[in-house]
Each structure stands twice: as structure tokens, then as C-alpha cells.
């Protein structure tokens, strides 16, 4: 006969984990298995833990992350496609006491926004740039991105990315690490609990650098896009480990 379980009342006092205070109740529009939700959660936790809610401004991109402002309960500006770093530059120059960060996908940051990204990094603006790289355009329906791996099939590379036709996948993190204004460049992923814990530490470091005026911090998240990749969440995570990590290796690229 099964033992009768002792009834435990769930009250705030005995709760060991909860929804981050800065995440709104709005149901996220992201597909099941998408990395965005986890990254949002980490950002909300770090801002809350730093006690920075009333002094943080986020800049959201064009792409799947455009509605980040619906989910994290801070002030936000939604930037034109690719221009988030320029928007954030002025915010930090005009409001140096604020924590300013951008949240951008690979199409936004490393295709249409390459110019703004590189020059903001080069000026060493004390902002944090959060870069979600899933090697595809998610919101527009799975087209090839600058980061799409060689051979990878997308809506605009239906036979797989061919370097003769499309050039090579773009590693912008390594590129900006050479710039003197850049303080911290790291590549993370949230595919495993251990990865989530490491990623949170990286975000905290990037945000602290921003507040200490130490120059630009860049946190890349190698991510999945189940819908764009046309895979189940489990298969997408496995594919990310087998194909994305060898080309986009995780870890710190620059840490001064």
C-alpha cells in the first residue's frame, strides 16, 4: 500500500525557485524549444539580482527578439533593423549612469547591422551586446543568414549553403575581439543546465563591465531555431552540439 505523502503547502517561505520577478505574465511568442525564452529569463534574473530594474534600458532588434519588450519589465526601445548598437551608443553617452544593453539576432547584428556593430565596438561604448546566433532568419521564415553553416539548407539556400554562391559563415565575435574598445567577448549556449549557469555568469560580467565603464562586452549565444531548422527541440539541441559548436566553439574569446 502506498504511503500517504505528507501534504506540503507551497508558500513563499519554502519556495526554492520561482519565476524571475522581472519576467511579465505575457505568454511568449517563441516556438517551443527556442533558446530566446531561456536567455530572456537569465537577463531578467541578472538585472533583478543587480537591483538595476529602475536604471536599465534595453534595445530590442528586428527579428524574433523584437518583442523582448513585452516580456522583460524594464524600459525598452525597439530599434530599426540592425541599428540597435547606434541607438544604445547615444543612450549610454547621454545617460552614463544607466545599464544599457542590446538584444540582437544574427541577421540583425551581423548582416544588416554589421557597420553599426563594428563601430560601436570600436568606440568602446560601455554597453552590453547580447547576440543570439541561430544561423538562420527565424521571424521571416527560415532564410539563410550570414552565420548559416556550409551545406545547411534554408529557404534561400534550398540546396545547402554553397560557398561559391554565398561565401562563408561569419564569425563576428572573433572579429570584434581584435578591437581595442572591446573588453569582453564570450560565446555561450543555453542547451544544457550547466550551459545555462555559465551563461548567467557571463551576462552578469557583461552587465557589470557596462556599469563600471569598462568598455564593450559582447555575449554570443549559440542557439537553436527548431522551426527554421525543421527539427524537434531535442534533435535541434543535438544538431547544435554536433554542427554549431565545432564551428562556433564555446568559451571566452577575450577577457581583459
Amino acid at each position: 500500500m502506498a504511503q500517504k505523502q505528507e501534504e506540503v503547502q507551497i508558500v513563499p517561505e519554502n519556495r526554492v525557485y520561482g519565476r524571475p520577478a522581472l519576467l511579465t505574465d505575457r505568454v511568449m511568442h517563441y516556438c517551443p524549444g527556442c533558446s530566446h525564452g531561456t536567455i530572456h529569463k537569465l537577463i531578467a534574473e541578472v538585472i533583478d539580482e543587480m537591483g538595476m530594474q529602475d536604471r536599465t534600458i534595453g534595445v530590442s532588434p528586428v527579428g524574433c527578439g523584437v518583442f523582448a519588450y513585452n516580456y522583460i519589465d524594464i524600459d525598452w526601445a525597439e530599434a530599426a533593423h540592425g541599428r540597435a548598437c547606434a541607438v544604445a551608443t547615444a543612450m549610454k553617452r547621454l545617460c552614463p549612469d544607466k545599464l544599457i544593453f542590446t538584444y540582437q539576432g544574427d541577421g540583425d547584428l551581423s548582416a544588416i547591422g554589421t557597420g553599426e556593430t563594428i563601430h560601436t565596438c570600436n568606440r568602446g561604448e560601455s554597453i552590453a551586446v547580447i547576440y543570439v546566433n541561430n544561423a538562420i532568419y527565424g521571424m521571416t521564415g527560415g532564410q539563410m543568414a550570414p552565420t548559416t553553416l556550409v551545406g545547411m539548407k534554408t529557404a534561400t539556400s534550398p540546396n545547402g549553403r554553397d560557398v561559391k554562391l554565398h561565401g562563408y559563415p561569419f564569425k563576428i565575435a572573433e572579429m570584434i575581439a581584435c578591437l581595442e574598445g572591446v573588453r569582453y567577448v564570450t560565446r555561450q549556449s543555453v542547451g544544457t543546465p550547466a550551459g545555462v549557469r555559465r551563461a548567467k555568469k557571463a551576462l552578469r560580467k557583461a552587465f557589470e563591465n557596462s556599469m563600471e565603464g569598462k568598455g564593450l562586452s559582447f555575449v554570443e549565444f549559440v542557439s537553436t531555431c527548431n522551426s527554421g531548422w525543421k527539427m524537434t527541440p531535442v534533435a535541434a539541441n543535438q544538431w547544435m552540439e554536433e554542427h554549431m559548436f565545432p564551428f562556433y566553439p564555446l568559451g571566452d574569446i577575450k577577457n581583459e
Partner: protein, 365 residues
Amino acid sequence: MKEDVRLMKGNEAIAEAAIRSGCDGYFGYPITPQSEVLETLMEMRPWETTGMVVLQAESEIASINMVYGGAACGKRVMTSSSSPGISLMCEGISYIAGAELPCLIVNVQRGGPGLGTIQPSQSDYFQATKGGGHGDYRMIVLAPASVQEMYDFVFDGFDLAFRYRIPTMILSDGVIGQMMEKVVVTRNRGRMSDEEICRQSGDWALTGRKANRQRHVATSLALEPAEMEATNLRLQAKYNEIEQSEVRYDELMTDDADYLIVAFGSSARIASETVQMARKKGLKLGLLRPITLWPFPSERIADLAARMKGILCVELNAGQMIEDVRLAVAGQVAVEHYGRMGGQLFTPGDVYEAVQEKLLKKRRH
């Protein structure tokens, strides 16, 4: 107290006025014929006095998006450029209009299309008053005809931008930007404190989400058609209000005039000489100078048209403002155009001849 009168270029007047109007940030990129704005600011180092930020961006695209970011924080921010650079900014201007943010944009026009010429032109009238960027939006457009107005319109431009949360443009040209004139340097207002920003823009500016308010979001996105239409209706209501309240124009000898010139900016300066010339010869010519190109002085032009024998639009372009004049006149009287393009200017005598050719002779035929 003695007046502070200085001799300066139109572009220098913009820089001087920016600092004295309490501007928080200027973001720009060099382009002829307006580079003296950024050069003068860098020379004056206002970050050491008023704390104003001056930043040379990597492009006009970056400049206007920096303006977007600063404006979203409730700051008094501006940029300046010339025609090809303004084309690059049009996307950003559309976003600023859509997100209902205040800012000041100065266009010291040069001849186009394309890379064109560095010489003066007024061929960006359409771009300034009809859009340039995408979507149903408007900018308030001020057209200075002197270096003094370059100076004064920086103050007025910021005031209008904040009153209506709208991008405001000073549409100048290479003549006004480069020429030197006396300027009465008036007013000196400080930058807004954080408290003043909260007082003035507390219901929308990104100042950090405090416990006593909802989060603020600067955005022009609304995927739901009903929501997007509501945004558009709100914008149109605002534009109607501006059309009712903010029309500005200047007139010269229109009271008894038989013929009327309509001209703005540097063309109006030249045409004012033509009016004097005509009067000496007994021709009753008058001048209406729109100061706001949007909102356009349509009502006043319609009133004047009722008692004119002919109207000549004098512009440094192929005929752009004439479309608004004709809409206002609504067929009451013939409206003709006289212009030069590609950086060429006309003299008061050229304009006088055009009045003879296009208004008087045609009338006799």
C-alpha cells in the same frame, strides 16, 4: 544690456544655437556643404561647459539612429546633414515619427539626384514635406532665409518637436549654410535636468522603470491592424492640430499686389529684391514666403490668390512646392514655375524676367 551681435556662417549659427538651446546631444557625419556644424561643435567643446554630447558617427544611418536612442530617453538631440545624407536617414526619420519622438534634423541642401553637386539647391522639398521615408508620417519643416533664422529655428525647432513629439526639420541650403551674416545671439537656456525630463516627458521617456509606473517602450511596431490603424489615426489627429496651430509665413507688399511670387529660403531672399525692382518699375508684385513648408500656408495662399492676376513659384528645383501652391489655389488663377537646378542660382533680374515672361506675356496672349 548691449546686444551680442556676431558675424557667422549659417552652419556655425546652427552649432552656436545648439549649445545655447540646451541641446543634450549632436550626432553627425561630415558632408559638404554642412560640415561646419560638426566642426564648430568640436571646436567649441560643449561637453566641458554644458555637458552636451557631440559624436561623429560612422554614417548618417548611425547618426539618425543615435538621435532615435537619445530622443527615446527624453533628451534634446539633433543631427545635421546634406541631401544624400538625409536620404540615408529617411528610414530612421520614419521610425522616429512612428515612435512619436522629438528631435531636430538640419538639411543644408545640395543639388541632386544621386551624388549630385555640392552647390545649393532646394530639390529636397518633396523629401522633407511628403515623406522620404515610408508610411503616413509628417515632419514639421522650417525654412530659414537668413543666418539669424538658422540660429532662431534651432530653438523653435526643439520647442515644436517636444510640443508635438514629432521630428522637426530645418530645411536650409548651401547658400544659407555657407554665407556669413550678422546674428543677434540671444537666449541661453540650460540643458534639462533629470527632474525636468521626468516633468516634461514623464509619461513616455525611457528614464528607467520606476516602481510607481509601467514600463515605457519606444516602438513603431503594431502587428495588429486595428492597433496600427489606431496609431495612424492618433498621428493624423496630431498632424491636423499642427496644421491648425503652427503655420508660419512672411509677406512682402502683398496688400495691393496684382501678381504674387511664392518662394521659400534662399529663393525668397532673391525674390524679395525682385519685388523691389518691380515696384520701382510700377509693377505691383508681392511675395509670400512660407516659413513652415509643412504645415503649408495653404489658406493664406488661397485668400491671396482670389485677388491676384497670376502667381509665380520661384524655387531652386524643377517645380516641387508649386504642387502645394496649386492645390491651395485650386484653379482660381494661373500658377507658373520658375527655377534653376543642379546648383545654379538665379538673380533678382532673372526672376523679374520670369515674371514678365510667365505671368504678364502669357496673360496678354
